[in-house]
């Protein structure tokens, strides 16, 4: 019983438009997640994250490819793997006329947990999500972020062996996001496997042990956040606004990564002084910092994750 938690092979998905053209949302995505791993799919809006998550969680049929969950064929026999799954859908909402406590409790009961287990798990998950104070108010009176936390609490309270969370922290304040991250870490320590999607770079970095950068339906890179940063080609980033005019000169110091009209020079400590003086000569402002996942993303995808188009 050492099979991976999830294995996807060349998963393709074409949405057949009823009135518009067909859309190829996934063009052969393969990935492998071992048991107990916390993995993030990082990508811009429309990259195909939700499509992949729904296929992997047996809720959407792929056009072609293979999906195995705990060594079982999830496409041929979804029913056999579903008991091990739990899903936070993108933009889901709890029942408006249940309290968060009722929401989590009734869901656990529907999954077959005993009253005692359901009660203690629901209470624990609500505490973890910082919902203790509003746990007995109807969801209709809660804020968007609190509702989202209710969804996450409901699903993590299952402690299911494999959990899929689609943009779990959307609409949450930074403090709540940290609580969510902490609870995910706890879950994987207990043995659950977590696959989440996000378009927050900090979330992907803080939370995942490995991440997959996905764009236009393809996996463009895979690795730990550190590995991806190293692959950019340096440890420091010098960012120069409107630096196009001196790009030629800058490129001798290391790879350039563009983000709109900002030119990032990826380099090491050695060239720093010289780059700064080149920028100063051209009357341009330069800022220096460590290479972040942002540059790694730009390097791999060619566009910023914030770039809407």
């Amino acid at each position: 019983m050492n099979s991976d938690a999830l294995r996807a092979d060349s998963v393709r998905k074409i949405y057949h438009g009823r009135s518009g053209p067909d859309i190829e949302a996934l063009s052969g995505v393969s990935l492998r997640i071992a048991r107990g791993e916390r993995i993030a799919l990082l990508g811009r809006n429309g990259a195909g994250k939700t499509t992949f998550l729904r296929i992997a969680s047996t809720l959407l049929a792929p056009t072609s490819g293979a999906v195995e969950i705990f060594g079982r064929d999830a496409l041929a026999d979804p029913e056999s793997v579903r008991p091990y799954l739990a899903v936070v859908p993108q933009e889901g909402k709890p029942f408006m006329h249940l309290t968060p406590r009722e929401q989590a409790y009734t869901y656990l009961r529907a999954r077959g947990f005993s009253r005692e287990t359901a009660k203690s798990r629901a209470d624990h998950a609500l505490d973890q999500m910082g919902l203790a104070e509003v746990a007995d108010r109807l969801s209709i009176t809660l804020s968007g972020g609190q509702r989202q936390r209710t969804m996450v609490a409901t699903v993590i309270s299952t402690e299911a062996p494999l959990m899929f969370l689609d943009e779990p922290t959307i609409g949450m304040d930074p403090f709540a996001r940290r609580e969510v991250w902490e609870s995910f870490r706890e879950l994987t320590v207990k043995g659950s496997t977590i696959l989440l999607t996000t378009h927050y770079l900090d979330e992907a970095e803080a939370l995942s042990q490995r991440l997959y950068i996905i764009d236009r339906g393809r996996v463009l890179a895979e690795g730990t956040a550190d590995e991806l940063k190293h692959r950019v080609g340096g440890t420091l980033r010098v960012s120069i606004v409107s630096g196009d005019g001196i790009a030629q000169q800058l490129s001798t110091f290391g790879p350039l990564v563009r983000d709109g009209d900002i030119v990032h020079v990826i380099t090491g400590p050695h060239g720093l002084q010289e780059i700064l003086s080149i920028a100063a000569h051209a009357n341009l402002t330069a800022t220096v910092g460590p290479v972040t996942l942002e540059e790694a993303f730009l390097h791999v995808v060619g566009r910023s994750i914030h770039d809407e188009s």
Binding site: F95, A110, G112, G191
Partner: protein, 257 residues
């Protein structure tokens, strides 16, 4: 780290696991819609008043029809509820990616809605019994008809609910079904007022057929035996097929294409 390599917990699988819990959930949710429950028999009440004023002699027919039609309407609510939970809440994904089977999800939601909205039926049933004095076998037949009626509408409603991508596009269909199954055919008025040639056709509808069966058993609507068989078979076969269809469809649609 031993837990990572441990065998997966065995999950006892059963087709109807979680059914009771979902019925309870849905009931709890629906009971917050008291206004909606309280107003759910306004149409029936209005028809009763109209008939009571305009044609008192037909009031018994209208009463039976109102009970049957109320059940039909609850099936329609299942359609809207299933669509709402799927389109607006996406909660169906939580239930589908779980030990619960898609058919338990469908049935749990249906029975939950039925339970919450059954008050009008019980009330009308009481009134009908008081005014028309239903004999025990007739009352039993009425219950059986209501069950078949509900199974039919809730099943068809659940299947229909999955075809829509937004709520707005569902509303016109509710109006359509409402009129096609409830207002036009002989449900609130006796079958013999319906065009003669179309009477057997009306009996094929679960609403009109079910109503006619109960009225026939109660002795207020004489029907030829083959028409009785036609209405009974149509209701029975219709409900069975619809239920089997809904179970099949619930399983199939639990993974979208």
């Amino acid at each position: 780290m031993t837990s990572l390599n441990a065998a997966l917990p065995a999950v006892a699988r059963s087709r109807w696991r979680g059914l009771g819990a979902l019925i309870g959930t849905e009931l709890r949710v629906q009971l917050h819609e008291l206004t909606s429950i309280a107003t759910s028999f306004i149409v029936q009440a209005v028809f009763l008043v109209f008939v009571g004023v305009l044609a008192r002699e037909y009031l018994s027919y209208t009463l039976v029809g109102a009970v049957v039609f109320s059940t039909f309407q609850i099936g329609q609510r299942v359609q809207n509820e299933a669509a709402w939970i799927r389109i607006d809440h996406k909660l169906h994904e939580l239930y589908h990616a779980s030990p619960m089977t898609p058919e338990a999800y469908f049935l749990g939601m249906s029975v939950g809605v039925l339970t919450a909205y059954s008050a009008p039926i019980v009330l009308l049933f009481g009134v009908a019994d008081y005014l028309v004095a239903l004999a025990a076998p007739v009352a039993l037949l009425l219950v059986a008809v209501l069950v078949a009626e509900f199974v039919f509408t809730a099943s068809v409603g659940y299947m229909i609910s999955t075809w829509f991508k937004n709520m707005r596009s569902i509303w016109p269909y509710s109006t359509l079904f409402f009129n096609f199954f409830g207002v036009l055919p002989p449900v609130f008025y006796p079958l013999f007022l319906f065009p003669k040639a179309l009477q057997p056709v009306a009996l094929l509808l679960p609403t009109a057929g079910g109503t006619a069966l109960v009225e026939h058993a109660d002795g207020i609507l004489p029907l030829p035996t083959d028409w009785v068989i036609l209405a009974a078979m149509s209701l029975l076969v219709g409900a069975s097929l619809a239920f089997v269809g809904a179970v099949y469809w619930a399983r199939r649609i639990s993974r979208e294409r």
